[in-house]
């Protein structure tokens, strides 16, 4: 289970830091579509030669999000605060800026 935390001020008009539709679509395109139902060892180019531990996966997710962040979300003045992956109910991994 992946958590993506966005940091910023709530817009005075909408009352939101970022619209859920924008964030969901962003994460879907840049992360979920690349990982869902993939064999992490074989199907993900960035993980070739890398052990697909959840530590490495969290760093990769952060990197994918950062690569597209400025183009798509930069103008909104929001920042990526945290990527957290729950590997199981007892193990979770977090990357913070």
């Amino acid at each position: 289970m992946l958590e993506v935390a966005v940091k910023g001020r709530a817009d005075a008009g909408s009352g939101m830091v970022v619209s859920r539709k924008t964030l969901d679509s962003f994460v879907e395109r840049h992360v979920i579509s690349k990982l869902d139902h993939a064999n992490l060892n074989c199907d993900v180019a960035e993980l070739q030669g890398v052990v697909p531990t959840t530590e490495n996966l969290a760093l990769l997710v952060e990197n994918w999000l950062k690569l597209a962040w400025d183009d798509e979300l930069g103008a909104r003045g929001v920042k990526l605060a945290r990527v957290r992956i729950e590997e199981t109910a007892r193990n979770s991994f977090e990357v913070r800026d």
Partner: protein, 140 residues
Amino acid sequence: MVLITRKAEFSASHYCASPGLSPEENEELYGPASRPSGHGHNYVLEVTVAGDVDPASGMIMDLKDLKQMIQDRVVEVYDHRFLNHEVPPFDRVVPTPENIARDIWERLTPGVNDDGRRLHGIRLYETADLYVDYFGEDAP
């Protein structure tokens, strides 16, 4: 400094529509959440207080006091209410979780902040998949 967190729950209904926008624009921005008949959430609230541990009591603050403050200042106000119609400022402020968390912060700050302790953060779960953290307007 030590952080302590107390959890509480309340159920409330709301809808999200910005007054300056048309119904179509609101539907585009908020999705079905913009429809004025409203919909409900079982909100889960986590209130975190930061402070020094009193050497005698071994506590930052008496948890019963915190529990009572959350009950009186938040749960009594929000629980089983239609926020847009019954709980100011949401007659004019869109009751997004961002704005609700800020309102809860303002309601709790005067009671919580005292010598050696202060309100550190509000975490509000609207659903299991969506929560907001608010650390005050001055947060970095």
